[in-house]
Symmetry: C2
Subunit: 215 residues, 2 copies
């Protein structure tokens, strides 16, 4: 199936479809209509059909979609049928939380290395992966076919580390540092700015309190 240029908004919704379809599959559900999926996911059925049409529609025939097929196809589109080696730079609590998250492995993301500048942490172990000094970062990325680097370091050093990673062939950066990275085209960046997310929550609390007079 030929895939045309898909908007990032559509791409951003695919993991959620994948999650719901995985749950249906685990429950033994074989077919699902766009109407049922719509009620479950609280989006309109026409949004679902429109999203799926970007990928040829996934052949809804007779009653609804084949759950197993749809789950596999969306997984394939997301690249989850391939393996991606990743490293984590920054062995603080957040880095460790991500390193310990087993589910990434199930999706084909293989945890290969962890780095920190703090000498006291070197040699420690996070789920079988040794923490190495930052000086080892560049050669390790080159020699171990690393696709993805997770940055869980303060913003002051994030830009410099990201540039080193870019020069050594990294394909993507999952950035938790509180800064927007400027990297060469072709290096994918996905930002998780946690403070931004909390501020959005704060806005919505205050707007609601204001509207309902519960300040």
């Amino acid at each position: 199936m030929e895939e045309k240029e898909i908007s990032q908004a559509v791409i951003g919704r695919l993991p959620r479809y994948f999650r719901y379809l995985g749950e249906l599959k685990d429950e033994g559900v074989e077919r699902v209509s766009s109407q049922e999926l719509s009620e479950l996911m609280k989006v309109t059925a026409s949004q679902i059909r429109q999203d799926f049409n970007n990928f040829g529609g996934f052949g809804q025939q007779g009653y609804g979609y084949n759950v197993e097929f749809l789950y596999k196809e969306i997984g394939r589109i997301l690249g989850l049928d391939k393996k991606h080696n990743f490293i984590i730079v920054g062995a603080g609590n957040l880095g460790r939380a991500l390193g310990n998250y087993m589910n990434f492995e199930r999706r084909g993301f293989i945890f290969k290395g962890m780095f920190d500048k703090n000498p006291e942490l070197i040699g420690e172990d996070v789920r079988g992966v040794r923490i190495m000094p930052l000086e080892r970062l560049e050669s390790f990325v080159r020699e171990n076919d690393i696709d993805i680097a997770v940055l869980t370091i303060p913003k002051a050093s994030a830009e410099e580390v990201a540039e080193k990673l870019a020069q050594n062939g990294i394909r993507a950066i999952w950035n938790f540092a509180h800064v927007d990275l400027n990297l060469p085209e072709g290096i994918q960046v996905e930002n998780v700015h946690l403070s931004d997310s909390l501020m959005k929550l704060s806005y919505n609390i205050n707007r609601y309190m204001h509207e309902t007079g519960t300040e």
Copy 2:
């Protein structure tokens, strides 16, 4: 200034403006034009003006905006001039990472309590806050004016805990559990689905490799 209903897309961009303006302020910059802000943030100047017009435009007069004024105004819109007490449910690595993040305090988010079901963790301390058993959750929320609960627990228990929080007067949930919560209207939910974010990254890697023939 009367605030009309603002789209969540605009709200979602405010924290990023706030971040850049804070940096300009720290650098001693007094005025900034939408053109300069545009180059810095890599969004169009017309997008910036359009976003700001939702709030009356912030009075760009002569040369550009007053940085300090704009920073304060956006902070006020985001509710950062008010204090919000928060608790964290789930004392694993991710919960601890968020508990240890000092910057939240600077923005008015006050860390008040931490809860876990694991008896071995009870009584431990995260940045001066004691870990309490889950049985204490409901009374603590009622008695300590808690606005926000951060959920860093597995999805199996997230729905049940969220319902208890809702029944005891929580205003907002910052949800890191890998499930969409169904809560009464008026309770604000902001989801951080980390796996979804990683899958989006995976899609973009694979699309790029496909396009450039570097698979």
